[in-house]
Amino acid sequence: MATNFRKKKNSTAPMEGSETGSGNIEVVGLSQGQIIRKRFFQHKPAVAGLIFMIFFTIFVYSAAGIHLGTDQNKISIPGWWKYSHEDIVPQGSCATGCPSPDHPMGQLPNGRDYFSLVMRGSEISLMIMVVIGGLAGIIGTVMGSVSGFFGGIIDAVMMRFTDFIITVPVILIGAVIGYNIGNAGVLLLAVFLGLFSWTGLARLVRGEFLTLREREFVDAARVAGASNRRIIFKHILPNSVGVIIVSTTLLLSSSILIETGLSFLGFGVQPPDVSLGRLISDYQGEFIYAPWLFWWPGVIIIAIALSINFIGDGLRDAFDPRQSRRINRKDFLAKTSTRDAVNKR
């Protein structure tokens, strides 16, 4: 049964491709995964975003090194950058602390090297982003799929629970964990934020499951005697993986904004830890005298969020055959000279 289903799934792709008029030839003989990969790599901004994220992550983690654990038992692997974010270095050649070869992003008034601070901040922001996104992604998928698949009373209870979570203010979670418990650690903050930001994804996945469970292939599987677990994991989940991946990606970009926003208000990451939002919050007053202190963390936040949004857009195009026609106008006019094409838009 499973092999049959797989075949059926593969054969639907060219069919859906033929609907778009142009995708037919290019996807013949390719598996679903290959088609998705091909479509994704055709999306230039997404590929650029992916490359940026990979290089940036490697750059940041190698520059600042990896520091784990609490003050008592610390595991530290130093990075290649000569200063650590805790070092206090005498003021360099530039009296105002402006960028110089020795301090590419300038220096703080107290002598700290800003490059190492920004790298450490990016490291923490990236870590928080991944933890929130991953945790919320898992919880949202589980909640949404169980709710959408079983329906009835289970659905009602779980959806009201989702409503309940929506009403709990995220800022309060940030405040309780970050501001009041103090340095319980950045990881704890990320975990708690993740525990409260899965609601949007759960609703989306639920909607997807509600429509998919009515489809013929689910009936066929059920008639063939498949268990609920098998139907969920082998039949419905693979078909809704597009929605899940895309919204998780977008969740990642919104979670870096949540973290920076909380830290900006003073509720998120607490000193001596730094994060990108914290850096902006601390040095926004210096905008006129030392604008680089303000620009660098902001530009990095935007670059991260923008790349992730583009990756998400590319994935959406790759997973959704209807939305993936990236044909330029010339091709469009050449291929479809009649009104017939307009009707298909």
Binding site: V168, G266, R325
Partner: protein, 511 residues
């Protein structure tokens, strides 16, 4: 239906109970409200602590104390709801909230409306011109705006829209190079809306570049930004272009009835210009303004109604929108006339970076007071509009694209309906249904306030109350603000579900 609503409301109350309980516990266990007093060097410290412990009932453990709060908040014992007093200054929480709500609404209403209108308009444009230059640019813009932290935008706006603009006003002439840069940027934006052959695009670019260049040259030479005015001619020309634009969008310029209805409304606006200016002196009030608005809208409704016999809807829409914009320009002109006085009163720094109004302004002039509110609003409104605009743009684009691929659109086109009718009558009405959810949540969020924005721009709205409550560990204030937000969020979910099923009969409420 009624049973469904009843059940959902009772469930909503249950959710509210749970969420306020959780919020209370989280807040109560997160810190010590007496920390400030404990650290003070007041000799009466012990007495104050004892007194506060008694009034705040800190001797009762939080899980039980919540019920004491709930009992008072619902007014079970006394009959009047009482949210308690703030810890520090002992103001009643309810009064604090009552003063904060109007401020928050003022902050958020305009930007929400702007974001909805602009976002949906550009989303539709982006969708019907899918994969055009405009679509790509708007997509990129929306992703960029999605990725911007609002506090970062706020600092930039403060620097470039307020501080540097104020500096510019001191010497309001535009040099040649900046004029060329401005004209190029604006011409590129205008050209973005045009599609077609390369020749057409280049011609559009040339015309708009010249137009913008001349406009800014004249504005710079006459110091227009320092002494702005529209005058009756400016109002008429702008109004007429609005009328032509709306006719083009709603009926097409071939419909002469719509065009003349729109232009008549503009004429009406021009006719009331002098009476309006004579009537609306410094002592005007909001009632008079409302009367003016109602008069304009009602008369333009009848203009549209009498100009055509068939298909009155679009014609009325054109004439009412034209009248609305002419009225807006008239009011704007009136505000511009007071700009110089306001400039002097604000010591040459008219655009404000902080606060919601200028307390040192000693005047009773209706127009100056409103101009003051507007100059304080402009930065936060721009920041908030930019951020939420992107969401509406993406959602409406996706929604319109989804609807355009439906069979009934194909049918409408197949029966020979003009494309404008297909889009306006068949596509848009259906595409707007999913957006109601988003709008319901945004409107519910109006009262919740915007914590970060209010913090950056120094507004004393609901957001800053919540912020303050967390910082000072003020349980009463915190519960007061958050229960309102939670209540509205629950109601928005319910309202969104109900509106959705009313607008779209295909979605039935499951019994």
């Amino acid at each position: 239906m009624l049973a469904f609503i009843g059940r959902r409301i009772s469930l909503a109350l249950l959710i509210l109970f749970g969420s306020t309980y959780l919020t209370y516990q989280l807040a109560a266990y997160s810190g010590d409200p007496l920390a400030g007093v404990r650290e003070s060097t007041d000799p009466n410290k012990e007495v104050i602590i004892a007194e506060l412990t008694k009034t705040l009932q800190l001797d009762v453990p939080p899980p039980a104390r919540y019920f004491l709060w709930l009992q008072k908040a619902l007014g079970l014992a006394t009959g009047t709801p009482d949210l308690g007093n703030t810890v520090l200054l002992r103001f009643p929480v309810i009064d604090q909230i009552a003063t904060a709500i109007p401020i928050t609404i003022r902050l958020l209403l305009l930007s929400t409306i702007l974001a909805i209108v602009l976002g949906i308009t550009f989303g539709i444009l982006s969708a019907i011109r899918q994969y055009s230059r405009l679509d790509y640019s708007l997509t990129f813009l929306s992703f960029l705006l999605f990725s911007l932290p609002i506090f970062w935008v706020a600092v930039l706006l403060k620097e470039f829209m307020a501080i540097q603009f104020n500096d510019f006003l001191a010497r309001p002439s535009i040099d040649l190079i900046s004029n060329i840069i401005i004209a190029t940027i604006l011409a590129v934006i205008i050209t973005g809306f045009v599609s077609g052959t390369r020749k057409r695009v280049l011609i559009t670019f040339g015309i708009s570049f010249t137009a913008v260049f001349v406009l800014f040259f004249v504005a710079g030479a006459t110091e227009w930004f320092r002494y702005p005015s529209l005058g009756i001619f400016g109002i008429t020309i702008l109004g007429a272009s609005c009328a032509v634009g709306f006719t083009h969008v709603f009926t097409g310029l071939a419909n002469k009835k719509a065009l003349s209805a729109g232009l008549t409304s503009v004429g009406l606006g021009a006719a009331v210009y002098f009476p309006f200016n004579a009537l609306a002196g410094p002592g005007t009030n909001y009632q008079l303004m409302m009367a003016f608005a109602v008069l304009m809208l009602v008369s333009s409704y009848f203009i549209g109604y009498f100009f055509t016999k068939i298909d009155k809807g679009p014609v009325i829409r054109v004439s009412m929108l034209s009248a609305f914009f002419v009225g807006l320009f008239t009011v704007l002109d009136k505000l511009m006339q007071t700009w110089d006085t306001y400039y002097e009163l604000s010591n040459g720094r008219p655009i404000e970076t902080m606060g919601s109004y200028n307390i040192t302004l000693k005047t009773n002039d209706f127009w100056i007071l409103n101009l003051d509110l507007l100059t304080h609003l402009i930065l936060p409104t721009t920041a908030l509009t930019l951020i939420s605009f992107a969401g509406y743009l993406r959602y409406s684009r996706a929604s319109v694209l989804e609807v355009l691929s439906m069979d009934y659109i194909r049918t409408a086109r197949a029966k020979g309906m003009p494309e404008r009718e297909v889009i306006l009558r068949h596509a848009l009405r259906n595409a707007m249904i999913p957006l109601t959810t988003l709008i319901a949540f945004d409107i519910a969020g109006l009262l919740g306030g915007a914590i970060i924005t209010e913090a950056v721009f120094g507004w004393r709205g609901m957001g800053s109350l919540a912020n303050e409550a967390i910082v000072t560990q003020d349980l009463n204030l915190l519960m007061g603000t958050f229960s309102i937000t939670a209540f509205l969020a629950v109601m928005a979910t319910l309202a969104a579900d109900l509106i959705y099923s009313t607008l779209d009969p295909r979605i039935r409420i499951r019994k």
